[in-house]
């Protein structure tokens, strides 16, 4: 037990130190690198807390995808960074803000320690009500049966987010291909990687979704892996990103949520409630929803990285 305690203490100190470093560091690029490392450590913390689903989400979305987006942003902002730093508020104001933030952080820490012990939980109730859903992973049961509406709305939120990214396109470029990915370099190791890695990545992604029914994993984590493979292929220049006017692309983006809603509406007649599953068919329906949602989410995540449609799309890429 003591060795575990030492590891946990070291982990906690490392996370705290890294968090402070991310806040205090000046250059955006190093802050992002620090943030990615922080996210990976947080994933380990979640594993230590036996929340493997959260750990996988943290690693895939919170660290992987967010990290990529932030790295891109930091690279673009680099030329303006000096001006930004020079216009920051005076020392007095910064000290005051720092003190107030510290006060709130300490207050929060105190409050967390005052939470009831043992923590009140719904875990037992979830376990009792898991059999009707047919799935073995309680997280999946909560996300796709008990609280299906939250999952449905969360997957819908991705669409306005993507539209927000597309909306900053120039008017003449509307309908074209996204153009924010770096230009591909031919003959690099990246091409080889993009040819070798995706088959394995796709298998892992599908495995995560399939496994999610009974073990940790699920559509968001699987979709992130699939999106990563797609982005790899795009960056290597093996494929062009699809044009935003592409009808097939648009159908695929919304098909996940539409199928989810469709099954939910059918539940009104077949199972007496919106978003309820008919008895005995819960598991196959949940798997079907997860499968199409994975596709839609993976596409959306990839397109979020690919950026708004642009006119001067990299012409050097092979098509």
């Amino acid at each position: 037990m003591t060795s575990a305690l030492v590891v946990d203490a070291a982990l906690a100190l490392l996370v705290l130190g890294l968090a402070l470093w991310v806040i205090s560091t000046r250059a955006a690029y190093s802050a992002v690198v620090g943030f990615v490392a922080y996210g990976l450590l947080m994933a380990i913390v979640w594993v230590r807390l036996a929340a493997v689903d959260v750990a996988m989400t943290e690693a895939a979305l919170g660290t992987g995808l967010t990290g990529l987006l932030l790295l891109g942003a930091a690279a673009r902002l680099a030329p303006y960074e000096a001006a930004e730093v020079s216009s920051r508020p005076g020392r007095g104001l910064r000290m005051l803000i720092g003190l107030l933030c510290a006060a709130i952080a300490l207050g929060l820490a105190a409050v967390v320690l005052m939470l009831p012990d043992p923590a009140p939980t719904l875990a037992l109730l979830v376990a009792e009500n898991l059999p009707p859903t047919g799935v073995g992973n309680p997280v999946t049961g909560v996300l796709l049966a008990h609280r299906a509406i939250d999952t449905l709305l969360e997957s819908v939120v991705l669409i306005p987010a993507l539209i927000g990214v597309w909306s900053v396109a120039a008017d003449p470029a509307w309908g074209g291909r996204p153009g924010s990915l770096p230009r591909p370099q031919s003959g690099s190791a990246l091409t080889l990687l993009a040819q070798v890695l995706p088959p394995f990545g796709i298998l892992i992604g599908i495995h995560l979704v399939w496994n999610g029914a009974d073990d940790p994993g699920g559509k968001f984590q699987g979709a992130t892996v699939l999106a990563a493979m797609w982005i790899l292929v795009l960056i290597a220049g093996l494929r062009e990103p699809p044009a935003v006017r592409d009808q097939r692309l648009r159908v695929l983006l919304v098909i996940g949520a539409l199928v989810f809603i469709g099954i939910g509406v059918a539940g009104i007649w077949l199972a007496d409630a919106f978003l309820a599953y008919p008895e005995g068919y819960a598991k196959p329906l949940i798997l079907a929803i997860e499968a199409v949602l994975t596709l839609s989410i993976a596409l959306t995540l990839g397109l979020l990285l690919a950026g708004p449609p642009a006119n001067d799309h990299r012409s050097g890429g092979r098509s």
Binding site: I104, V111, L115, A119, A148, L152, I159, P160, A170, I268
Partner: protein, 606 residues
């Protein structure tokens, strides 16, 4: 057939659905959002209009069911009851907000047909697809926020709302509006995080996120546990940031003034009301009885600050859309007077507050769209150069004026009812200071409206007409303005909707009393003469046509304003204060101080 069955018959089949009816307003906008991307193209606007009409019917059905049934509609999604599942509920407040959202969004949808028309020959435009999709996204977020009974579902609703509202600000793609949108995004996300943190503390303490169950469990405790004190403070502050209550209004003026008129109307009329509604939910439904005098006075003081400060800064604006945006900053303030007044006059305060939500939604949407028509026709929105626009756009200027009358609070407008009910609550609770603030706010509002109207009515047209607006656009703006102005003439029994699902709330009695003496001569004169005095003062300061001859003088005068020379110094100081408050570090500081102050206030009373 008596009157109530006549009211019910068109909706009988919908109303028979019971709680299931709530799924329609929840899912219709979501389906619209998804289908819009799939369909896209030239006829998207027409298709969206169809959905907006269906949405209005659904909202009417919900309101009718709630009012005639006399009880809130409840639905367990997936058949799972809380705490395991998620409930939807429409009480009177939800029903009112669903309905007013459906009306305003439909009006905006009609107005936007022309602004977001796809030019002949083009398959689709960026602005058209983005606008219609995000309009649906905003609508989905609003309805989910009004119906959700689960703190996490409400968080998802806020996210949907924020991610849909922010890109609307930058729809024209100028660097200036992109900066405004980014400012809005970052501050609104900060608000989301604080809200989520609070929700986590609620779950950690009570193992449920359901509002009704939380209220039950909290009512049983002798005092608020510290995590709940922290949660209430964090969630309130986070939602205040999203509502842009003074002094956290840094993002609102550039965002609401920079968005296209149809989007500004939605943002100002509805989006800020959703986060306000969640503050109401937290204090009146999750933590009933926990609102102690100190917390209530803090919220009221912020509201009063918003009324005075927002109106004064509005007076200083040279551009019409910015003036209207600052007027929104001020009008949000009235909503927060509910909190100190509700302690001993809940009926009056809540009814007055809900009327403010409804009448401001209609009036402000009308004003932003009227300003859009003026700007589209004249090619600018500089108040000083609006001269003679009444001759170019009579209906639009009339609509602007009528909507303004509701903001000032002339009978029989919704604004009048708000002012009268809140004043009655002030008299009942002896908190005279809020009454003073409301009086001053009304007069300041009158001052800037006369300033705008005086310019629009006087002199020859001072510019060229660059485009003609559509007749439908002008009429829909007029209809919204009339809705705000004539709100008080509705049968008092309809106002009982406010109290459905809430014990001991007699809204119709409050409204009947307020309307009973509204048109007596002494009352009418007593309400109108101060406004007339302000009007005469303002008109006296208007540049007359013969004095306008010197162009360079006019140019010099554009930096001055209605407050005139004697108050120019004060105005400059206020503007500097506003610029200071709207700086990131200062706004961040305000947020932190507010969070700590609220936590301290809530803790002392619990």
């Amino acid at each position: 057939m008596d009157s109530s069955s006549l009211l019910v018959s068109p909706f009988t089949s919908l109303i028979e659905l019971g709680g299931l009816l709530l799924v329609i307003p929840l899912m219709l906008p979501v389906i619209g959002l998804l289908l819009a991307l799939m369909l896209g193209g030239r006829f998207l606007g027409r298709f969206m209009l169809l959905l907006l009409l269906l949405g209005l019917i659904a909202a009417l059905a919900v309101a009718t069911a709630v009012l005639t049934g006399g009880d809130a509609l409840l639905y367990h999604l997936g058949g799972w009851a809380p705490p395991l599942g998620v409930a939807l509920k429409a009480d009177g407040l939800s029903a009112i907000l669903l309905l007013v959202s459906a009306v305003v969004i439909l009006a905006v949808g009609i107005y936007a047909q022309r602004d977001f028309r796809v030019p002949p020959g083009a398959p689709e435009t960026r602005a058209s697809l983005v606008f219609w999709m995000l309009l649906m996204g905003v609508w989905a977020g609003l309805n989910a926020a009004f119906l959700g009974q689960d703190l996490f579902t409400l968080f998802v609703a806020l996210e949907l709302l924020t991610f849909s509202a922010v890109p609307l600000v930058a729809l024209d793609g100028r660097a200036e509006t992109l900066a405004a949108a980014l400012r809005y995004l970052l501050f609104a996300l900060l608000g989301s995080v604080l809200y989520l943190l609070g929700a986590v503390l609620f779950y950690g303490t009570y193992a449920t996120l359901d509002i009704a169950l939380l209220a039950e469990r909290i009512a049983g405790a002798p005092s608020l546990p510290p995590p709940i004190v922290a949660a209430a403070a964090l969630m309130t502050v986070g939602l205040l940031a999203k509502t842009a209550l003074f002094p956290l209004h840094l993002w609102l003026p550039p965002a609401h003034a920079g968005a296209p008129p149809a989007a500004s109307a939605i943002l100002s009329a509805l989006v800020v009301k959703a986060s306000f509604f969640l503050i109401l939910r937290i204090w009146f439904d999750v933590l009933p009885g926990a609102l102690n005098p100190m917390t209530a006075q803090i919220l009221g003081a912020l509201g009063a600050g918003a009324i005075l400060f927002g109106n004064l800064i509005a007076l200083r604006q040279a551009r019409l859309k910015l003036l209207i945006a600052y007027s929104t900053v001020a009008q949000i303030g009235y909503l927060f007077l509910i909190f100190p007044l509700a302690a001993s006059a809940e009926s009056l305060a809540l009814t007055g507050g809900m009327l403010q939500v409804v009448s401001h939604a209609c009036a402000k949407a009308a004003m932003f769209m009227a300003a859009g028509l003026l700007a589209g026709t004249l090619g600018h929105d500089r108040i000083r150069d609006l001269g003679g626009s009444i001759r170019v756009l009579p209906i639009t200027v009339l609509a602007f004026g009528l909507a303004g009358l509701s903001l000032i609070g002339i009978q029989p407008s919704g604004g009048y009812l708000t002012k009268t009910l809140l004043t009655a609550a002030v008299d009942g609770t002896g908190q005279w200071w809020w009454g003073l603030v409301m009086q001053a706010g009304g007069l300041l509002t009158a001052a800037y409206l006369f300033w705008v109207l005086g310019h629009a009515l006087s002199g020859p047209p001072s510019g060229q007409v660059v485009a003609r607006p559509g007749r439908a656009q002008e009429l829909v703006v007029l209809a919204l303005a009339l809705a705000a102005l004539l709100l008080g003439l509705l049968p008092p029994a309809l106002f009982d909707l406010v109290g459905v699902g809430r014990a001991g709330l007699d809204a119709s009695a409050a409204v009947s009393t307020a309307m009973a003496g509204a048109f007596g001569w002494s009352k009418l004169w007593g309400d109108v003469w101060p406004i007339l005095v302000v009007g005469l003062l303002v008109l006296g300061m208007l540049p007359w046509p013969d004095r306008q001859a010197n162009a360079s003088e006019r140019l010099a005068a554009t930096t001055s304003s209605v407050t005139g020379h004697w108050a120019a110094a004060l105005g400059a100081i206020l503007e500097r204060a506003d610029r200071g408050l709207r700086k990131w570090p200062v706004a961040g500081l305000s947020l932190l101080v507010l969070a700590l102050a609220l936590a301290a206030a809530i803790a002392t009373g619990s």
